[in-house]
Symmetry: C2
Subunit: 211 residues, 2 copies
DNA sequence: TGTACATCAGTGAACGCGCGTTCACTGATGTAC
DNA sequence: TGTACATCAGTGAACGCGCGTTCACTGATGTAC
């Protein structure tokens, strides 16, 4: 890459980081201003247009990045679980991996969580697609684990969706919590996920009793 | 109440309704403007100050209203369940009640959902408190139901929190969905809640096996 | 290697706009006698 | 009931401010020969 192109992509990155930094304060993406973002990146407002047509385009780029990071997270969790062997702590390992990821990508995650119910249809759809992707992959894993243990699991996709919903819900709380509170959230989350999995196994084994 | 005071409270209501109406479009509360709200309410911008010191005060009033509505919802669901007798469909009845409420108070619910992860610490704390209140009440009910049926239920509070998280997560999706999709979401939600409850009963009966 | 020209990331001035807030006001409603 | 005065919800003009966007520019980097 030419040094001019390198410089350009560095600046582009600086703009994205500036936007993420603003999100870490109590800001929704929709309340960001182009001038603030460029100011934080140390650029003139007009320079923004050399990189993005508007803030929404920058936002969608960040959502894409969040999606990529989520998939990395899943892969890493899977690798760790396999490495550990099946010592029955797949859930705990996944949660640990998730929480580590949360620490390292807090602002990216904040964007996903905040705009999932946020401003624009466009954003919401994109984020929903990323989350759905995670749930689908998880469903495949759950099916595989259940089969490997010779267990029946009712509705693996629903189990996965419920788990993802719970993880994201706790994740939102964990974002600005102290390390101590985060530990408590991990314990709670672990029990909640167990309940879902156990219930699904029961339903898979004994059929859908009314509750 | 004097007619002057009545008129004043009508205007106050009009401002709150105008803000809620704006939220129904793709707007987060933080992106509302005082001028837009007063314009929609048919008032001069300056009139706003006769009713609220700023938009945040109006917002907190709406959050309070959302909390009241949530409690009404719980009471209504409980009444219906009792009326139906225990035909084993307590979950279905609760979900139906919730979805009806969602329809009737869409904008209020949107505010709660959107600002739960949203702008200000102040808002988030207030909304979290309302949701926690719901979970606590639900935990009491769950404990009672379980006792009535002579079952053990592990961690009723966690079960309640997981259920509330799932209901709110699906609620967010249901908000702008078609009637058809909403039916699907209800079915999914019902199964997910069953899983949690069944799993908790298993854990209550057989102890906390590792998963 | 040296020279002449093209590209293009970043700039600074300028624009019109909607914003929140202030202020002194108006006139209907409420109150005291 | 009638009169004089007080209250106060709602107003319109005005303010300074930060915003997004346009435009013509600069000067370093890249390219052709």
């Amino acid at each position: 890459m030419s040094s001019r192109a390198e410089q350009k992509s560095r600046t582009r990155r600086a703009l994205m980081d500036a936007a993420l930094a603003q999100l870490s304060a109590d800001r929704s993406f929709g309340s960001l201003s182009l001038r603030e973002v460029t100011r934080q990146a140390g650029l003139a407002p007009t320079s923004f247009y050399r990189h993005f047509t508007d803030l929404d385009e920058l936002g969608m780029t960040l959502v894409d990045e969040g999606g990529v990071a989520l998939r990395q997270l899943m892969r890493q969790a899977r690798r760790r679980i396999v490495r550990n062997g099946d010592d029955g702590s797949a859930i705990a390992t996944s949660i640990d991996t998730f929480m580590e990821y949360l620490q390292g990508n807090a602002n990216l995650f904040r964007l996903m969580l905040r705009e999932r119910t946020g401003l624009s249809e466009h954003f919401r759809t994109a984020i929903k697609a990323e989350i759905d992707h995670v749930a689908t992959e998880l469903a495949v894993d759950l099916r595989r684990f259940a089969a490997a243990e010779g267990r029946r699991l009712a509705e693996p996709k629903l189990v996965a969706e419920a788990m993802v919903a719970l993880v994201f819900s706790q994740g939102a709380e964990a974002l600005d919590a102290s390390a101590e509170i985060q530990e408590q959230l991990k314990v709670k989350l672990k029990i909640e996920l167990r309940m879902v999995l156990l219930g699904a196994q029961e339903m898979g084994t004994k059929g859908y009793d009314k509750v």
